[in-house]
Amino acid sequence: MTDNSLTNISVSARRLDTETVVVVVTGEIDMATVPRLRETVNDEMAACRSLVLDLSKVSFLGSAGLEVLVEVLHMATSRQVSLCLVADSRTVRRPLEITGLAEMFTIYPTLDDALPTTP
């Protein structure tokens, strides 16, 4: 089965207001699924000031995924978009920590923590 439609990932974007987009990733981020993540984040990054990448429901993160996260961080810096990750599980935390990438990102344990509080 080589059909690309049958992959183990879902990536959805939700616009909170004119400035903020939340991208929610569900499933496994690997060499097979990483193109879909890259494409969605590229599209959304072009039209926001603040991007929240919610990885709470990610069940695998390998170096293909870590490389995309590094790309996204560079893109955010050069476009002056504020970027943060939502990640609490061992599955996501551990690869970020092992590679030292955890220090390069702003990471919140829950989506609520990542969103600006409305007064």
């Binding site: 690997d30 060499m31 695998f60 170096s63 599955t91 092992i98 590679t99």
Partner: protein, 140 residues
């Protein structure tokens, strides 16, 4: 792929053969996690083996001759799992040990090795071997 049946290599506990495509990585990771869990690895070690196996197979798949088969073998012992994978390739060069992927791999596994063998056929064979110990090194 008859050399895998030769006397030189003992039968692996589990051997998987898949067309060398990224779509199949998930099935290999599933077996890695299942074996590590039953060999009583702790959650971090299970997670590390799963990542290391993914890393090794991703490197092989990205260098495989199109349509060829990736062969993976798991040897499970009480204190360690030995994983070995190989694929036909056109290059005689092994993956760079300076790459990000390779550094992740060496951080995760207790030992890693990669080499190319030149066979009788038109293609060379690229191989990656790694060992993850049940109570091995803890990354970072």
């Amino acid at each position: 792929m008859n050399e895998h049946q030769s006397n030189a290599e003992p039968v692996a506990d589990v051997e998987m053969r898949i067309v060398a495509l990224p779509w199949h990585l998930s099935a290999v990771r599933a077996v890695a996690a299942d074996l590590a869990m039953r060999a009583d690895f702790d959650l971090d070690a299970i997670s590390d083996l799963r990542m290391a196996v993914d890393e090794a197979c991703s490197a092989l798949i990205s260098r495989a001759v199109e349509g060829e088969v990736l062969v993976c073998r798991f040897d499970v012992r009480p204190e360690q799992i030995h994983f070995s994978a190989q694929v036909p390739t056109t290059s005689t060069a092994a993956p760079s040990r300076e790459s990000f992927g390779w550094r992740v791999l060496t951080a995760l596994a207790d030992s890693v090795n990669t080499w190319v063998t030149t066979g009788e056929s038109a293609h060379h064979v690229l191989r990656v071997d790694l060992v993850k110990k049940r109570l091995g090194k803890v990354p970072q």
